[in-house]
Structures are given as C-alpha cells and as structure tokens.
Amino acid sequence: MQEFLQFIFSGLTVGAVYALVALGFTIIYNASEVVNFAQGEFVMLGGMTTVFLAAAGVPLPLAAALAVVATVAVGLALYAFAIAPVRGASTVTLIIITIGASILIRGAAQVIFDKQVHRLPSFSGDAPITLAGAAILPQSFWILGGAAVIVVGLKAFFEHTLTGKAVLAAAANSLAAELVGISLRKVVGLSFALSAAIGAVGGILAAPITFTSYDMGTLLALKGFAAAMLGGIGNPIGAVVGGLMVGLLEAFGAGYVSSSYKDGIAFLVILVVLFAMPQGLFGRAKVERV
C-alpha cells in the first residue's frame, strides 16, 4: 500500500507536467490545427529564463512573471514570423515549421543561456511530507495545484468570456467565425500566447524538481504529444487525463514491472488504447459533413 501510494505521487507529479504540455498542444491545435512541436521549448524557456533572472538578483516571483512574459513574446513571434505568413499551407508544412522553430529556440537558448543543468530553489522548502508512509515533496503540490488552477482558469476563460467563446467558435468552424467578424489572426495569435504562458508556468513550477536545461524540451514535447493523443487531441480534459495517465504508467511500469522498460510500457499502453479508440479517450471522431 505504501509502495502503491508512492508510485501514485511520483506518477501524478511527473504527469502534471506532461498534462500542461499536452494542454498547450491542444489549445493551438484547436485554434489552428497546427501541432506545435515547439511546445516543449516554451517549458524550457520558462524555467531557464527564471533561473537566469533569479541568478541576476531579480526576486523569484518577479523573475517568474518576467519569464512568462518573455515566453509569451517568443510564442507570439513564432506565430507572427513563422506560422502566419504561410497561412493556408498544409498541416505537414506547418508541423515541419514548428519543428524547425524548436531547433532554432533550442540553439538560441544554448547561446543566450548556457549548456548546463540548473535548478530553482523549492518554493516551500525541501522537507518531504509523509502521507500514509509515502513521501511527497512540497513542490509536487505546487505543480499539481498550479496545473489545477490553470485548468479551471482555462475552463472559465473559454466558457465565460467573449474572447474565449470567440476562440471556441473559431475552433468549431473557422469560416463561419470569420463571417461573424472574429479575427482568425487574433484568435490563433492568442492561442500561441496562451500555450506559451502555460508552458512557461509548467517549466517554472517543475524546475525545482525536474531541473532545467536548454535541451529539456524535446523529450517533454514527445511525452506531451503522446499524452494529447491518448486523451484525444483537441480535448482539454483529455489532455489533462492523458498527461496524468502517461506519468502514472511510467511510475507503475518502473515500480512493478521493470525500470528498464518503463517508457516502453507507457508507449505500449498508449498504442493499445489508440488501436482500440483511434480518436483517443475523449476525442470525437471527425465527421465530414456534406
């Protein structure tokens, strides 16, 4: 029982970070059908910028806020200079562009920051909290809580604000949305900004536990994308559930089966799920209306 709980906490902590990456994928995908493989780089930028600002003497909360702003600026620049000019290009072209952008951002980070691994101090100390024999770091609660706040905030934004509804409308039918006066440019730009902000917050919250380095984005993007696919790409709830599930699968795989094959186990389960439900756990089957 104690072991089981420990695996659960381990899985949820890791999974919450995947969930935030998956959410970022989902938001941009909904607004523009672009799968943004630079999503992992947003997480890296959040963490690295905070580390370097904090090292320069900026107080941590301010450094974190500035890092989010900087990452949003990068997200908007990515949209304005790389995605917007090729509007109407095929999805594959757009995906290749985002992969190129991720390589560019990674290279720039290597030069602007450095090639070392860094850590932020934990927000509430390093003394583990013991729950029924399982030990959890206070930072895990920050990550889980942060993810929960973001999910609730997003839900409120999409359902209760005019701008949020405009994004949803554009996602549902971009042509009709444009006809009623919604600027597609603004909506997609906003979705890039939102995804960048979510990624950056995830990167900052996770940096005390997972560390941060210029090349951390690739693997996160892969895991986050797998999580988004598992949950059903385009569904925010699916993204969160998918992320947590991938994290839990890894923890249980390492704990109960074999630590050598834990990534394999996670991906195997995802494959099996996608074979049975190609649209993912919460995805809708795409229906072409004639």
């Binding site: 420990q6 850590r119 390093d126």
Partner: protein, 382 residues
C-alpha cells in the same frame, strides 16, 4: 631566453597564424571535442583547457622552439560527425597527433581512422574499451569505469558492506559502468541484490528507490551515472528518507552535482581525482603542485570552477607535449613511441606510467575516495 627574443618569437608565431598556412616551424595538433550538445559540460572545459594551455606553451617558447598550432572541431556529441572530423584532421589538416574524443562513443568512432593512418590519439573519455584491448596508436587519460567500480567496492568492503543495490542510467556512461561493476563485483566480494535503471533525462526516480527500499538485505546503494540523473536520484533518495550509505561514480565529480542535489548529497561518497581536493592534499603529495597550478590557471582564465574533465585535457596535452619534446621530431610514429614511453608523468588524474601493454598508465591509488559534506565540499575519507 631574453624577453625581447621571446616577444619576437611570439610575434613570429602570430604572423604565422595570420598567414593561415601551416608554418614550417609549427607543430599541428588536432582536437575533436563535444563542446556543444549533450556532453557539452565535459567538452566545454576540455576545449577551454586546450586553448589556454596551447597559448601558455607557445608564450613560453613552444616545444623545442616550435609553436603548437591547434586545430579544433566540435562534434556536438555526434559519433558520425566525430569520424568525419577525424578524417579531415588526417587528410586536410595533416596533424601529427590528436587529442579528444570527449565521449566513449565519439572516441570509438574515431579510433579506426587514426589507427589506419598511424596518427597518435589521446582520448579524454572514460570507457575501458578505448584502451582494452590495447591499440598501437590509441591512448587515454581519464580513469576507467572499471577502476571506479573497484575503488568503490574496496571502500564498501572496508566498511563491512557486502550486499548492495545498483542504480544506473541507461545512457552510455551508466550502461558501461553498470556492466563493469557487475563484472568485478564477485571478485571484490560484493553481492548486487538489486539492479535498477532509469533514463538519462528522467525527472523522478522514486519508484526505483522504493523498489530498492523494499529489497531485503541491501546494505548500500551505488548510483552509476553522470549528468543530471544522479542529482535527481540523490534528491529522491533523501525525499524517501533513505539512510543507507550512498555511493556515486566519478562521473559526478563536479560542483554542479552538489549544486543540483543540494543538502541531499551530504554523506555521499565518490571516487575522484586529486584535482577536486587540491588544498587538502598532503604537502608532500607529488600531485599537489600540478593540480594547484592547473586549478588556479583554469579558474582565473575562465571564471568557472575547475572540473576533472578539463583536467583530462590538461593531462592529454602535457603528455603529448613531453612526448614531442623527447622525440625531437614531429613524426607521428616517433611521437607515438614516446607517448608509450611516458614514465612517472604527474598529471591531474594521477601519476602516469605507460607501457606497450598499458595505454592508460593509472592505477587505483590515483583515485581518492571523497565524501560530500555540508552541501558544498569534498573531504578525503581514506
């Protein structure tokens, strides 16, 4: 040599470099390092060390009056690129010797090129397969992972610890060290009762440690890996309240590890070169002047804390310099013979005595067993 003549020589050297073409009096040495990419934290200090000491050697008049011209390539940690650069060094740059190969993978990829063209090659990577079996033109300066296992096991034995859990990364370094430790454990009287692994970029290892905690009879834990993995492992180890003695490998012999792992690293033991504890060495220790000089020079020039990795590059360059000096020639074959004849060379890794059967030349005594204390420092524990 008077100041004016050395200044004049320096000026000549600068002119020769500006001319771009290989000056008749310059000795061309190649280097292929992973200054960027995943092994950058190894390759970066190596690069800086070579640049710094080539400059120092040339300012002091070079070798037998000839300056050194260093041709460096950055393979980004990619073995394919390393091999291409190795061919370029041999065919286009026509170097007389090569230092480098930051990782075991890049070194192994380059070895055939240098062996075929009979160019001496001094690798800076840890893997034992580089010099075992011995290849005529290949040498290396860092301790091997097998030596690290033997040193750690000897220390465990001395503390009466016989049953241990092994946790290793699945990257090249971790996988190789795991293999070597499993191989030498029986002879050292150590029984490995748990054998866990994790990915090099994993951010949580509590499941593996929970399993180790649940294994009956474990008396100590050995974490064989380098990079960020051991830092995560050490923090998770403390998080789960593990109190068994924790051993780390020579791969984390850097300040960065202590910074990342924080107070959780206190008490962990690791084998490392004397370089890290330069000030704590006995006054009559033969390594003391060498490691103190290198540390001060490196830290003054780069503003970064010294690491053993840059020290490997220092050892490689100095062994090569002395060999060229003794050979009185820039012929690769004669340089090779003189590298093999290296005897009693005092470097940052230890005292090196090579032979036709031993192209590493270090023994176990060159490793010091260190413990991490107060979240900041290493102390010698033997």
């Amino acid at each position: 040599m008077t100041k004016t003549t050395s200044a004049a020589l320096g000026g000549l050297a600068a002119l020769a470099l500006m001319a771009g073409a290989a000056h008749a009096e310059a000795i061309k040495i190649g280097a292929v390092l992973s200054a960027t990419g995943p092994a950058a934290f190894l390759g970066d200090p190596e690069q800086k060390t070579l640049d710094l000491y080539v400059k120092k050697i040339n300012e002091a008049g070079g070798i037998d009056g000839k300056t050194i011209e260093l041709v460096t390539y950055d393979d980004g940690g990619d073995a394919n690129k390393a091999r291409t650069f190795a061919e370029r060094l041999v065919e286009q740059d026509e170097v007389v010797a090569v230092i480098g190969g930051t990782t075991t993978g890049t070194s192994m990829a380059m070895i055939p090129v240098f062996e075929d063209n009979e160019i001496p090659f001094i690798s800076l990577a840890g893997g034992i397969q580089i010099v075992d079996p011995v290849k005529p033109f290949t040498f290396k300066t860092p301790h091997t992972d097998r030596m690290a296992c033997e040193k750690i096991f000897a220390d465990m034995k001395a503390r009466g610890l016989a049953k241990i859990a092994l946790a290793s990364g699945t990257g090249g370094f971790g996988a190789s060290m795991r293999e070597q430790c499993l191989k030498v454990a029986p002879a050292a009287g150590i029984e490995i009762v748990a054998d866990e692994t994790y990915g090099p970029k994993d951010t949580d290892m509590t499941p593996q440690i929970t399993k180790i905690r649940g294994t009956a009879g474990v008396e100590a834990v050995l974490n064989a890996d380098f990079g960020q993995g051991p830092a995560v492992f050490t923090r998770n180890y403390a998080q789960l309240g593990m109190t068994l003695p924790l051993y780390q490998s020579h791969g984390v012999a850097s300040k960065q590890f202590i910074e990342l792992a924080g107070p959780a690293a206190d008490g962990a033991r690791l084998p490392a070169a004397a370089l890290l504890v330069a000030d704590d060495l006995a006054a009559d220790d033969p390594q003391k002047p060498v490691v103190t000089e290198y540390r001060d020079a490196f830290e003054a020039a780069t503003g970064q804390p010294v690491s053993t990795f840059g020290g490997h590059a220092y050892d490689g360059l100095m062994i090569l310099k002395e060999a060229i000096d003794r050979a009185d020639s820039a012929d690769p074959g004669e340089i090779r013979d003189q590298i093999e004849a290296t005897k009693g060379f005092v470097g940052t890794a230890g005292v090196v005595t090579m032979s036709p059967e031993n192209h590493l030349g270090l023994d176990l005594s060159s490793f010091r067993m260190l413990a991490i204390e107060n979240g900041c420092c290493w102390v010698i524990v033997e």
